[in-house]
């Protein structure tokens, strides 16, 4: 309620500053007052809407619209008010303070959401399950000796070895083949492969949950296409997701299915960048299409292959959703990132969860450093 008059203040400051008049003393004072009022208004709006957003009985659509408006307008209003506030300061001071307005919020957010938690997680990993006492490296010893965490480490390593290579191979093969089609069929075939990229891993899990659907023999028709084909060939139905160790492979198929599009699109643009004169010259020299691929195309896209591969390594290493939704890590399918969430979110063992997070972090760092370096080099050329 008390917000309306201060909102009007916003407008007056807006117009007066846009007018760009000289910084007269009276105007400066007016601006200070307005800026303070604007900040106060933001706080009041936030407080009022926060209580409305917490109201269990309110209309959800209104709440959602208010939340969106608040988030979107709020962040801009915040910067605007801060900038006005700084402008009200004496000029020599305001120019020194202004970078804080621009860079400060990002620094604060990064500090709160990445720097502090990362340090904190490392500390927690050396403490007991409730983070009450230091236990040294006990959590790490547990991780590397208990059979369930060892399984998850083994699986994660298998995932990282198998999935990126297969994904890149299929992506590259498809990108090479599709390059030989006409423009229009190329675009539509690519879209079909690429589309799973738009689907969440949870959605992909549902899609494949139906493919892998299982009814024990004598309990009705198989509604999963895999078991339907399998039983039509005269076999007994299989519960694909509980057959160790093959269930891991069936989970990997989902990620390969979802990520091939990514590999394909990036590799396809790399293939198109191979100079056509070189390709034609090799053709005239009598190179077969297969020779052409291995001797000309592949070497020129090798650096892109590495980029796609490292990206997939990171994605797969941090994979969580598919395992969590499909099997919950049962039947020997657990992976590190999934195990980490299970430890702290279900078992409330924060020490073990933090130790797994640190292992994840340490293992991913070299790959990330390579990726960021490469990216920096690429941006420098551009």
């Amino acid at each position: 309620m008390g917000t309306t008059p201060s909102l009007a203040d916003h407008d007056t400051t807006g117009t007066s500053s846009d007018g760009g008049g000289p910084n007269g003393g009276r105007l400066g004072a007016l601006r200070t007052v307005a800026a303070v009022a604007a900040i106060a208004a933001i706080i009041v709006v936030l407080a009022v809407s926060a209580s409305y957003l917490r109201d269990e009985n309110a209309n959800r659509l209104l709440q959602v619209l208010l939340a969106i408006a608040l988030g979107v307008v709020g962040v801009w209003a915040f910067y605007w008010a801060m900038d006005r506030g700084v402008s009200a300061l004496p000029e020599a001071l305001s120019e020194r303070v202004r970078p804080i307005v621009f860079v400060g919020p990002a620094a604060v957010i990064l500090g709160v959401y990445l720097v502090y938690p990362a340090i904190n997680t490392i500390i927690i990993s050396f403490m007991d399950r409730q983070s009450e006492n230091f236990v040294g490296v006990d959590n790490y010893i547990d991780v590397f000796t208990k059979s369930d965490t060892l399984t998850s480490i083994r699986n994660s390593i298998l995932w990282v070895i198998i999935v990126p290579v297969i994904t890149v191979a299929i992506g590259l093969a498809f990108a090479t083949l599709v390059d030989k089609l006409s423009k229009r069929s190329e675009a539509s075939a690519k879209s079909l492969i690429f589309l799973p990229m738009a689907i969440s891993f949870v959605g992909a899990s549902v899609v494949w949950g139906f493919v892998y659907s299982f009814r024990p023999a004598g309990f009705g028709n198989q509604i999963g296409i895999l078991n339907a084909i399998w039983t039509a060939l005269g076999n007994d139905p299989i519960n694909w997701l509980s057959v160790q160790p093959w269930n891991n492979a069936f989970l990997m198929v989902i990620v390969i299915w979802a990520q091939v599009g990514f590999a394909m699109v990036i590799l396809s643009s790399a293939i198109k960048a191979v100079p056509s004169e070189i390709v034609e010259a090799a053709r005239i020299d009598g190179a077969s299409e297969i020779q052409l691929f291995w001797k000309v195309v592949f070497p020129s896209v090798l650096s892109t292959v590495v980029v796609v591969w490292t990206t997939l390594v990171i994605t797969v290493w941090k994979l969580f959703d598919i395992v969590y939704v499909m099997t919950g890590g049962r039947d020997g399918t657990s992976v590190i990132a999934e195990r980490m969430v299970t430890e702290f979110f279900k078992n409330f063992n924060f020490g073990a969860g933090a130790a797994l997070a640190v292992i994840l972090f340490v293992a991913v760092t070299p790959v990330m450093v390579i990726n960021v370096r490469r990216f920096q080099a690429e941006e420098a050329i551009r």
């Binding site: 957003l53 917490r54 269990e56 959800r60 659509l61 959602v64 969106i68 979107v72 962040v75 801009w76 910067y79 605007w80 202004r98 621009f102 860079v103 919020p105 990002a106 957010i109 990064l110 709160v112 959401y113 990445l114 502090y116 938690p117 990362a118 997680t121 083949l177 030989k180 089609l181 075939a189 079909l192 492969i193 589309l195 990229m197 959605g203 549902v206 899609v207 949950g209 139906f210 493919v211 028709n221 509604i223 296409i225 339907a228 299915w257 990514f262 699109v265 990036i266 009598g286 077969s288 299409e289 941090k318 959703d321 969430v341 702290f344 997070a357 640190v358 972090f361 960021v372 990216f375």
Partner: protein, 295 residues
């Protein structure tokens, strides 16, 4: 082998066509294989409950035009009593600000890094870039504890700011590089005309940065909309506040009684990202290459 060599040696029009056929077939076989799982789910989502439970989706094909095979009731149930209309709204309420907030914060910071002179800006920027290596898993436990202490678990701003934090290093980095490459003469002449930094940023730099802003926005939109982990941990399982991915995972979790609703629910969660994705593919591909360094 031999045919390939001949085709390679002498490129007649006929040879090219003959050579294209196996390639064409292979491409379309893979494309169809890739589409079958989602296509099956799409067909399933429009089948009546007993059909879904009683037979595979491919059995509709002998007589596709029989109206008894098709129904919209799964979608109706999922949206009303299933709570997916609510979850859809929640996903919007999470995603839109979780895209706008990090872009805004990153854009201001990027401008600061690119066009403002202040002590320690190079060191600070290097630190931001370095933070790209920190996976979000490292942040979950401490942030959850922080949120629990301040009673923020389950609130939208809790998720917005978490996504802002996780997306910021990449966003600042991308935008800083882009803004830094804009001609300095533009900024200098604006400064001579008496424009302050805020005006230059708002009137000049932002409009010029639209391509990179769009790439990052689409990337972040798909990332947040499809995110399950952050939403699960910070927003939780409360039906009133849960987002689509969490609601869908829940539904998939108690398979037994709700199996026939899963396909419709899945498509409710996929429709918006698919539309965004298909209509803005071009920007997305550009964002993808950049996104490969997201931590």
């Amino acid at each position: 082998m031999t045919t390939a060599t001949i085709a390679g040696a002498k490129k007649t029009g006929l040879a090219r066509i003959v050579e294209r056929w196996p390639v064409k077939t292979a491409v379309w076989l893979i494309a169809i294989l890739w589409t079958i799982p989602s296509f099956g789910l799409l067909v399933t989502s429009f089948r009546p409950r007993d059909d879904i439970r009683g037979s595979g989706w491919w059995t509709v094909f002998p007589d596709v035009w029989d109206k008894a095979h098709w129904t919209l009731s799964n979608y109706q149930t999922v949206l009303s009593t299933g709570g997916f209309a609510n979850a859809f709204l929640n996903s919007l309420a999470v995603t839109i600000p979780a895209v706008v907030i990090p872009i805004t914060i990153a854009a201001f910071a990027a401008y600061g890094f690119a066009w403002m002179d202040f002590p320690g800006r190079h060191v600070l920027f290097a630190l931001v870039v370095g933070l790209m290596v920190v996976p979000l898993q490292m942040a979950l436990i401490p942030i959850l504890r922080l949120y629990t202490r301040f009673d923020l678990v389950g609130s939208f701003p809790a998720v917005w700011l978490a996504h802002a934090g996780f997306g910021l290093p990449l966003a600042v980095y991308l935008l800083r590089n882009y803004m830094g490459s804009l001609p300095s003469s533009v900024i200098e002449s604006a400064q001579i005309d008496g424009a302050d930094h805020f005006t230059i940023f708002w009137r000049l730099i932002l409009p010029l940065s639209v391509p990179v802003l769009a790439s990052f926005a689409i990337f972040q939109f798909l990332w947040v909309w499809n995110d399950f982990l952050v939403a699960l941990v910070f927003l939780g399982l409360e039906p009133r506040s849960q987002v689509l991915t969490v609601a869908l995972a829940n539904l998939a979790g108690n398979r037994g009684e709700a199996e026939h609703l899963l396909p419709a629910a899945a498509f409710v969660s996929m429709v918006l990202p698919m539309v965004v994705f298909l209509s803005l593919q071009r920007y997305f591909v550009r964002g993808l290459t950049a996104g490969s360094v997201k931590g």
